[in-house]
């Protein structure tokens, strides 16, 4: 008996992957991966001979692939991580293992990220190839990098929501997505600094060099995309991810998760 916590996390990750390899789930993930390029293909077809501006294409790809497709993929995977075990009454088997809850949480996180990554990467790549005619490689690198960061960060925040409110995880996840990531992230105030979407947008404009064509002291630019380098925003995003995971683990260690049916009083 000498498997480390990392080995146990890997065991959960492998088990979750094996369980998830079903046709319905793969079909759903394929649909998520293909809907952004399909939509953009339709857009291109509708535009006819009109050339879609490079910056406009970048924003459209970003909105559909690293944002919507990745968010949907990790939302469906990470948010019900704990609630599905509680509802299925399987949590108790995991909770009575040494550091079982932590291994399960982090193993499921890895599974959620690695399931969502192909969705984000396929969506970003195909969307870029469909819509972009110039600087294709740069667009591919930036959009795919954003898809990776998006999956990593959103999986952590949805996992945290699932730990905080396991019984209403999906509903709260949707409310969070709409209120924070869609609405608050566009408000040029302190609140947008704590959203993942804001950081991803900052990375988009810097990665594609939108900022090079604008003055750094442009008030509107600074209000929406802040200051700081690519590395700074990436660091903040990864730090936020780490913080979400640490908080989720702490809550899981502290909290009691028995369901009423498991107590006969």
């Amino acid at each position: 008996m000498n498997a480390t916590l990392i080995e146990r996390i890997v065991a959960v990750f492998q088990f979750e992957w094996r369980r998830a390899l079903t046709w319905p789930r793969m079909t759903w993930m394929a649909t998520l991966a293909l809907f952004p390029p399909a939509l953009l293909l339709l857009m291109r077809w509708t535009a006819g001979s009109f050339e879609i501006p490079w910056q406009g294409a970048a924003i459209a790809i970003f909105a559909l692939a690293p944002s919507i497709a990745c968010i949907m993929a990790v939302f469906l995977w990470a948010t019900p991580s704990i609630s599905s075990e509680l509802e299925g009454r399987s949590w108790v088997y995991l909770a009575v293992r040494p550091d079982g809850p932590v291994a399960v949480l982090l193993g499921k996180y890895l599974a959620a990220v690695t399931w969502a990554l192909p969705v984000g990467l396929i969506a970003s790549t195909l969307s870029t190839l469909v819509l972009v005619r110039e600087q294709v490689l740069r667009m591919l690198v930036v959009q795919n990098s954003l898809a990776i960061l998006s999956c990593i960060a959103y999986a952590a925040v949805f996992l945290l929501i699932g730990v905080i409110v396991p019984k209403r995880a999906m509903v709260v996840g949707i409310i969070y997505g709409i209120l924070f990531e869609a609405a608050a992230s566009t408000i040029p105030a302190a609140i947008n600094l704590i959203t993942i979407q804001h950081r991803l947008r900052c990375l988009l404009v810097r990665g594609l060099g939108f900022d090079e064509s604008m003055a750094e002291d442009n008030v509107v630019f600074q209000a929406y995309f802040g200051q700081g380098s690519l590395l700074w925003h990436t660091g903040i995003l990864l730090a936020m991810t780490l913080a979400f995971l640490v908080i989720a683990v702490a809550i899981l260690r502290w909290r009691e998760f028995t369901t009423a049916s498991e107590t006969d009083t």
Partner: protein, 308 residues
């Protein structure tokens, strides 16, 4: 020491799950008996660290619950099923054994051994969804014993099993105890536990009503008023004799039946035996309403509340 509870109370809001329980248990096999809603599962949830006491202190095998060092030494079969229907039995048991801290190949070997032990080796690759209730229950037992814990905790392990599955489970657990390992088994049916251990904890309403061997609990019960129903040839004559002897608290006669309540069950039994042997009375049937576990609890609750 297997288990030590010091004034442990667990509240769910204003509802009491476990009420001021103090006890110590040595290593070995022990049964936790109580009617549905008695607080058995709450007690087991406290022992396995899924719940924390609202008040009091609890140690299991010298550790506080939730301590990973304790969880390595503990196997648990919960009251609810909660298995993954879409995986094979061996895959599920292997996965949980890995989570227990064993490397993949070792976990697989241990899981196979456990499946053999619960006599499911030949069907271990089948999906759990295809299993009968008895097979699922044995698979659940396999996950609890695969890592060979020092203490096995079972919550309603016999629930829903047919007689054959019940017998298999009993034999398995008897072997487990014979190997010198500890067992804590909760049930609301006395005879399920009687075949495994003679050491009981009786709980009801979250309170520990009594603990000890069957004999100790029987002795305790003889001091609790019991209702006796007799069918005999001369009930009125016996009623008069019983009143005169002072062995009964109340008596009622209906046709050929006599109903009596007594706080001296042992003496009454002796008196009836003597009367029957002397040929003074012809007793056809003696029935005590306190045979069932539910009545034992009822009697003990009265004793506990000072009504008796």
């Amino acid at each position: 020491m297997l288990l030590s509870l010091e004034q442990v109370t667990r509240l769910y809001g204003i509802v009491i799950g476990v009420n001021d329980v103090t006890l110590t248990l040595p290593e070995g096999a022990h049964g936790i008996l109580g009617p549905n809603g008695a607080g058995k599962s709450t007690l087991l949830n406290l022992i396995t660290g899924q719940l924390r006491p609202s008040k009091g202190k609890l140690t299991v095998l010298g550790h506080s619950p939730r301590d990973p060092a304790l969880l390595r030494r503990l196997g648990y079969l919960p009251g609810s099923e909660g298995m993954y229907a879409d995986v094979s039995a061996i895959e599920w048991v292997t996965y949980l054994t890995q989570l227990q801290g064993f490397r993949a190949s070792d976990a697989r070997q241990r899981a196979c051994r456990a499946m053999e032990r619960v006599q499911l080796a030949d069907v271990q690759d089948r999906k759990i969804s295809t299993f009968s209730r008895g097979m699922r229950q044995r698979t659940r037992l396999a996950q609890a014993i695969a890592h060979e814990p020092e203490l096995l905790i079972l919550d309603e392990a016999f629930s829903g099993l047919d007689p054959i599955a019940r017998h298999t489970m009993t034999t398995l657990l008897q072997q487990w105890i014979a190997e010198g390992r500890s067992l804590l088994i909760a049930s609301h049916v006395l005879h399920e536990i009687e075949s495994l251990t003679r050491s009981f904890l009786l709980i009801s309403g979250g309170r520990l009503l009594a603990s000890g061997s069957t004999e100790e609990i029987s002795r305790l019960l003889t001091s609790v008023p019991a209702t006796v129903e007799l069918t005999l040839n001369e009930p009125r004559k016996l009623a008069a004799q019983l009143v005169a002897s002072g062995l009964i608290d109340s008596v009622r006669v209906e046709a050929d039946r006599l109903h009596a309540t007594t706080g001296s069950g042992r003496e009454l039994a002796q008196f009836l035996a003597e009367q029957s042997v002397n040929g003074a009375l012809e007793i056809f049937e003696v029935r005590s309403s306190d045979d069932s576990l539910q009545d034992v609890f009822h009697s003990l609750m009265k004793l506990h509340r000072g009504i008796a």
